[in-house]
């Protein structure tokens, strides 16, 4: 080798090295291991062989009949691809995370400087790289089918992008599932559950892809894009939550793992409201319907998340206390910091925000043209009723169980189960009593303890205004009772933040301008 070429090589290597420095190390490691591992090799070649077989069979049958049906061929090939990128790749992600525990490499990994979120995103990107490998490998086959005609390029581009997003979403959910349990038995059960979910996902996405490919007319309808927007919002939120939860489970227990999920929830609620406002610009008559659908899905999700936030350990961990912002007022910061009392405050504000958002986006719209469809008033009442039910079922039992102080993980689990149990009892027991006392099936569900009845009261136009007013009064009263029951906790929670910030300010004054020690001294050995 001549000196110049050697020199070129070293500069080239150096450049590559510097470039790879910016990459998440997990991506490099995972992709390398995947490419060398049996799981990927086997499944990759198996799917490629399957796709080749499909082409060969099509060609053979076309040899007899004359022409290849491009649309059908494309659909079948895309089906193979869907199984790979929506089924196999997420499964690989699940195994790659769980192998850290199974192989005993987890401890060394978390001790390194890699932050937990980088571990999760690294594994997610590695899954993305694998999905891209599959897309690339399928390109020639799909190009062949495309050349046979019958499909337009826009549908293909759309289906490909949607499929990549769905693949990443499935992978992040798989990663989340893999951090749920560390015992082998639970992992097996989780794997079975995940397998079922991924199978349904593959089937649904395959079906959706087929519909889109065969009905290009969809692209011009505004409903289609509204639905796409809604699904993207839900998908992104779901993915962000899965990533937050997975990150939280592999973080040091003293670290703040609650704030990210609270921020994501806030962004999701803002996203929903924004999307609702956008929907209003497209369709004024359907907006209240859309608002009702959003409330019916949004509030139960908020309820479930709030169960977690409101049952966190009440006191700040030392790590979080040492990080409390000192410049922002405590009342502003407190809702975002971990702790059950702060969780109550945060979930109350978030419920209020979503309900007000619904009100804002439907107010001033004309009443519903069709009698049984909800108008703007119906949608607003529905949203506030759901928010009130959610808050009541959260805050009243929550205030009682919070006396247990949520000492350990087990106490917290019990508190969560109690809150969910109270909701289940509140809905089921009166129904049972009404059912046993001879009410008909429909009426046995009509009791004021269930959100279903509250929703009906506000949606049905035939309901007497007086009855509606009774509900408004009753719900408001119980929400206030719930807030009062939690008031000492909330005050304590905010005071704790203010005191922690004060301590930090005092410390900073006392020590002058302290600087952190350097992260990395020169290596010695």
């Amino acid at each position: 080798m001549t000196t110049t070429s050697a020199l070129e090589r070293t500069t080239w290597d150096g450049r590559l090295d510097r470039w790879s420095d910016r990459l998440n190390p997990i991506v490099v490691k995972e992709v390398r291991q995947a490419l060398r591992g049996k799981f990927f090799q086997w499944t990759f070649w198996a799917t490629i062989s399957l796709a080749s077989l499909v082409i060969v069979i099509q060609l053979l049958s076309a040899g007899a009949g004359g022409i290849v049906d491009g649309r059908k061929l494309f659909g079948v090939l895309f089906g193979c691809l869907v199984v790979a990128v929506h089924g196999l790749v997420p499964l690989w992600a699940y195994f790659s995370m769980s192998s850290e525990w199974e192989e005993g490499t987890y401890d060394l990994l978390v001790l390194s400087n890699l932050r937990p979120w980088r571990i999760v995103t690294g594994k997610l990107f590695a899954a993305g790289v694998q999905a891209m490998l599959y897309y690339t490998a399928f390109l020639p086959f799909l190009a062949f089918a495309f050349a046979a005609g019958g499909i337009d390029a826009l549908s293909v581009a759309f289906v490909f992008s949607a499929s990549l997003v769905f693949s990443l979403l499935s992978s992040v959910i798989a990663l989340d599932a893999s951090t749920l349990a560390r015992q082998r038995l639970w992992r097996m059960i989780l794997l079975v559950g995940l397998f079922a979910i991924l199978s349904v996902g593959c089937w649904a996405s395959g079906f959706a892809a087929y519909t889109i490919l065969t009905e290009p007319a969809l692209f011009v309808s505004s409903e289609f894009w509204l639905a796409v927007g809604a699904m993207l919002t839900i998908g992104l939120t779901l993915g962000a939550f899965a990533a937050c939860l997975a990150t939280a489970r592999i973080s040091h227990p003293e670290e703040n793992v609650s704030t990210p999920s609270r921020v994501v929830a806030l962004l999701a609620v803002l996203g929903l409201i924004g999307w609702l406002a956008f929907a209003r610009t497209k369709t004024s008559t359907d907006t209240p319907v859309v608002a009702c659908i959003l409330s019916a899905t949004g509030f139960p999700c908020l309820f479930l998340l709030s169960v977690v936030w409101t049952t966190e350990a009440d006191t700040l961990s030392r790590r979080v206390a040492a990080q409390v912002p000192t410049r922002v007022p405590a009342l502003l910061v407190a809702p975002f910091l971990p702790g059950g009392g702060r969780g109550v405050l945060f979930s109350f504000l978030l419920h209020l925000l979503l309900a007000c958002g619904v009100y804002g986006s439907v107010s001033g719209l004309p009443p519903a043209s069709v009698g049984w469809l909800p108008g703007p008033d119906g949608a607003t009442g529905f949203a506030f009723a759901l928010a009130a039910y959610s808050a009541i079922y959260l805050f009243i039992p929550g205030a009682i169980v919070s006396r247990a102080q949520y000492a350990g993980p087990r106490a917290r689990l019990v508190a969560r189960l109690v809150i969910l149990g109270v909701l289940a009892f509140g809905m089921a027991v009166p129904t049972l009593i009404l059912g046993l006392s001879g009410s008909d099936f429909e009426h046995s569900f009509r009791h004021p303890f269930t959100p279903v009845e509250g929703a009906r009261i506000f949606l049905e136009q035939s309901v007497e205004p007086a009855q509606r007013a009774t509900y408004v009064g009753g719900l408001a009263l119980f929400v206030i009772v719930g807030l009062f029951a939690n008031a000492p906790r909330i005050v304590r929670a905010v005071t704790e933040v203010r005191e922690a910030a004060g301590r930090r300010r005092a410390q900073r004054l006392a020590s002058g301008n302290t600087t952190e020690p350097p992260l990395h001294a020169a290596p010695q050995p």
Binding site: G104, T105, L111, N113, P523
Partner: protein, 314 residues
């Protein structure tokens, strides 16, 4: 506030359910000090070390790394700690160089520094020439060295090594001992647990003895010996093979409280005064047991361990 200690453990307590695995353990390690962490199986060594390494949360107490609480800032602590667990796995289909390169990246080493550091730790742990070997096929000894190399990548100031010598052959152990000593000379604080006490005695500057989660003794080997055993141990060997008779005779001697067989002879303990030894020796010579060896023992870690712990496995 600058702490004189690289690692300071304060009243560490860990419960698993109602079972107390570690109970109020406190000790300190200075830079350059090599501290042996000793205790019978199930004493709580691994649990304590994992708490020091921020992998396990203590129920009470604190761990200070260079004066800063590891609970208040676990990330800063993790940057200063090198932890070698007693059991760990390696990534399959990865070579030694790739493995170390991955961890160097994970520790935030960039560009040339990374390449140089990986080269240095490979050389330091004598893994050179094996860089392209797959880690999954390494022998136990090589794996231990690889893990040590990984532990040194980010130049930690506190090293916590949980039974690094387990499973090593005699040469491997000697080499490991030299490596640990060299690390101590580089100014690192080393906490090392082991069951091979002669090993520890040769490299440790001091010891921490723990049993059933509780601290039994801390200090330099000599100090602990002096404090824990005011009595002397004496080794005797006889031509006679009648063990029961020998034990009986020894126990009848003035000041002797315990006798146990050891390496072809017997070890008994007494107050250690010269007068008393003379009387005992005289008695044995006069008996028909025919003593051939009689030597007061230098205290060693093994005896210390046995005398301080009760051998109860929990």
């Amino acid at each position: 506030m600058v702490s004189p200690y690289a690692l300071e453990v304060r009243g560490l307590t860990k419960r698993f359910g109602s079972f107390v695995a570690v109970n109020g353990v406190s000790f300190q390690v200075r830079p350059g000090e090599i501290v042996g962490f000793i205790g019978p199986n199930g004493a709580g060594k691994t649990t304590t070390m994992r708490m020091c390494a921020t992998l396990e949360m203590p129920d009470e107490g604190d761990v200070l790394i260079e004066g800063r609480s590891a609970l208040e800032d676990p990330r800063a602590a993790r940057r200063r700690i090198g932890f070698m667990p007693d059991s760990y796995g390696v990534y399959p289909s990865t070579t030694i160089r790739e493995y170390l390169d991955f961890f160097a990246r994970a520790y935030g080493l960039r560009g040339e520094t990374r390449g140089r550091t990986v080269g240095e730790v490979i050389e330091f742990t004598k893994l050179d020439g094996l860089e392209e070997k797959l880690v999954s096929v390494l022998s136990k000894g090589m794996k231990q060295r690889l893990c040590l190399a990984k532990t040194l990548l980010h130049d930690p100031s506190v090293l916590i090594l949980d039974e690094p010598a387990a499973g090593l052959d005699p040469r491997g152990r000697v080499e490991l001992r030299e490596l640990v000593k060299a690390l101590g000379q580089l100014g690192k604080a080393v906490l090392v647990s082991s069951h091979i006490l002669t090993e520890l005695a040769e490299m440790c500057t001091s010891v921490v003895i723990i049993e059933r989660g509780e601290l039994r003794a801390t200090g330099s080997v000599d100090e602990v010996t002096r404090r824990s055993r005011k009595r002397a141990a004496v080794f005797v060997r006889f031509l006679s093979a009648d063990a029961p008779q020998i034990e009986r005779a020894l126990l009848e001697c003035p000041g002797v409280t315990s006798v146990r067989p050891e390496r072809g002879g017997f070890l008994f303990d007494c107050s250690g005064s010269q007068e008393e030894l003379a009387v005992i020796l005289q008695r044995l010579v006069d008996s028909d047991l025919r003593p051939v060896e009689f030597a007061a023992r230098e205290a060693n870690l093994e005896e210390l361990f046995l005398s301080l712990t009760e051998g109860k496995v929990q």
